[in-house]
């Protein structure tokens, strides 16, 4: 999943590891770190947005229907959304 965005050899390392491309952290997909994945149950979700507010990665977004989803390219599987979701609409399941 993670794209190789870093230099292959030491000769290609930018002096001082300076980065000249703004916002390029977006191209690093931290989703590859994940061991647990959040699964959202629409029947329990009341669209309150608590998961969206608490997600430390900022990777939860609201879809066209008003439900919330995690962008799995960036979700590290920390489980904070599931812990904070008071209606119990989010379950963390093991990545298989």
């Amino acid at each position: 999943m993670a794209e190789k965005k870093w230099p292959e050899t030491w000769q290609e390392v930018s002096p001082g590891n300076m980065v000249f491309e703004p916002g390029n952290a977006a191209s690093y997909h931290t989703g590859s770190w994940r061991a647990l994945r959040p699964v959202f149950t629409k029947t329990k979700c009341i669209k309150c947005g608590v998961c969206y507010i608490y997600c430390p990665e900022g990777c939860i977004y609201q879809n066209d229907e008003g439900f919330f989803e995690a962008d799995l390219d960036y979700c590290k599987g920390c489980g904070i959304c599931a812990a904070e979701c008071w209606p119990g609409a989010i379950e963390m399941i093991e990545e298989g």
Partner: protein
């Protein structure tokens, strides 16, 4: 034309730095380097130098301010000693890893404890592996010359590394010596304005000091190591330019009366002058002793050392610091450098001059005599703390 002046060396260092037109100076006072930033603050307050003098609340902040200024493209200078240098420790490797050409003068002083304000090299030796270029001055003229050279070396785009200029506390910082002082015009000719590789500015897109994960960290360290080793080329180039313009010669290891020498003594810093006198005395007595003055500590001049010791029977390496539980740091380095050399000299490692204890001509003669007795392939002791009472 250069003017011959008598001046305290710390004051002279400040005057030399001022001639380099630094944009930012940030420092916190600590004996014995204090006169350097103190005098620079006078120079700025008097309007002789257009620079920001930042009165920070600690050495950590002093170097951090210099790092920020340098990242913004400024020419930045700081100075410190002993515990002050240790307080900078956390940001020392940041300056080199970010490839920022900060220049720092270190008025070398022993590390506590017991609390001691006098000279030895334990402060800089504790910062040996921080990725800085390290130069050691033996007397006042070298201090002012190196303070100027340091900026040119550091800022060269083939280098982009911080440089520390080491001058022994009190023995150099507080001593008045005659020096040939370059003029502003001469320094302007020698040292061009800094042209940074990149500078943080609202109009530019560059991030400095980013995260480096395991995927890239090894390559980053290799790149840093290669940059430091590669800096030697520029150091030699700058020294050549200095010699062409000012007539004073510098090299990584300066030799004194090494022709036909069977025993070599190696020194760093202010002890070198005393050692010169001692070697001259020994030669008068017919003792075949020569002197190697180590000027460039990092990057370590392996080739120069191997060349300089060729044919010598023994090498007495003096150290002004203890690597506790090991030996002297310079002794360890030199042994490692010569280990694979065929016919390498016997190495005697003498730790001397700790915490301001005087090192005399007689001490060097005694070390020369010890060197004459040393036999190749026979190591009697790893190191010896010279003159310690009770042994």
């Amino acid at each position: 034309m250069a003017k011959r002046v008598g001046m305290e060396i710390a004051i002279a260092a400040a005057e030399a730095v001022a001639l380099c037109r630094p944009d930012v100076i940030a420092a916190y006072p600590i004996t014995p380097n204090t006169h350097i930033p103190e005098h620079l603050s006078d120079i700025v307050a008097d309007g002789r130098l257009d620079a920001e003098f930042v009165c920070v609340e600690s050495e950590h902040s002093a170097l951090s301010a210099c790092i920020g200024a340098s990242a913004a493209g400024a020419r930045a200078f700081t100075a410190t000693s002993s515990q002050g240098l240790l307080y900078m420790d956390e940001v020392m490797p940041i300056a080199s890893s970010m490839r920022l050409p900060v220049v720092m003068a270190i008025g070398n002083r022993a590390l506590s404890g017991p609390i001691n304000i006098w000279n030895d090299h334990s402060d800089i030796m504790s910062q040996r592996d921080m990725g800085w270029i390290s130069l050691f001055a033996a007397y006042g003229q070298e201090v002012i010359d190196m303070c100027v050279q340091a900026f040119k070396i550091a800022e060269d785009l083939d280098v982009m590394l911080p440089v520390n200029v080491n001058l022994d506390g009190f023995q150099l910082t507080h001593v008045v010596e005659p020096m040939l002082f370059p003029t502003q015009k001469e320094i302007d000719k020698f040292l061009p304005e800094r042209k940074p590789y990149a500078a943080v500015h609202p109009d530019t897109t560059v991030s400095m000091g980013t995260l480096g994960m395991p995927d890239i960290f090894t390559e980053s360290m290799k790149a840093k190591d290669e940059a430091l080793k590669n800096s030697k080329k520029t150091i030699l180039k700058v020294w050549k330019e200095w010699e062409e313009q000012f007539g004073r010669h510098y090299q990584p290891i300066i030799e004194h009366r090494t022709d036909g020498a069977e025993v070599l003594i190696m020194t760093m810093g202010s002890m070198s002058e005393t050692a010169e006198t001692a070697v001259d005395e020994m030669r008068k007595k017919g003792m075949p002793v020569g002197l190697l003055k180590l000027v460039l500590w990092r990057p370590f001049p392996y080739d120069d050392l191997r060349k300089a010791v060729k044919g010598a029977r023994s090498l007495v390496v003096t150290d002004r610091a203890v690597s506790f539980g090991s030996c002297g740091p310079v002794g360890a380095e030199v042994r490692s450098a010569l280990y694979d050399e065929p016919d390498a000299p016997a190495i005697v490692n003498e730790i001397i001059g700790l915490g301001g204890r005087d090192v005399t001509v007689e001490d060097f003669i005694a070390m020369g005599e010890k060197g004459l007795k040393a036999e190749k392939g026979k190591r009697e002791e790893e190191y010896h703390i010279y003159g310690v009472r009770g042994s």
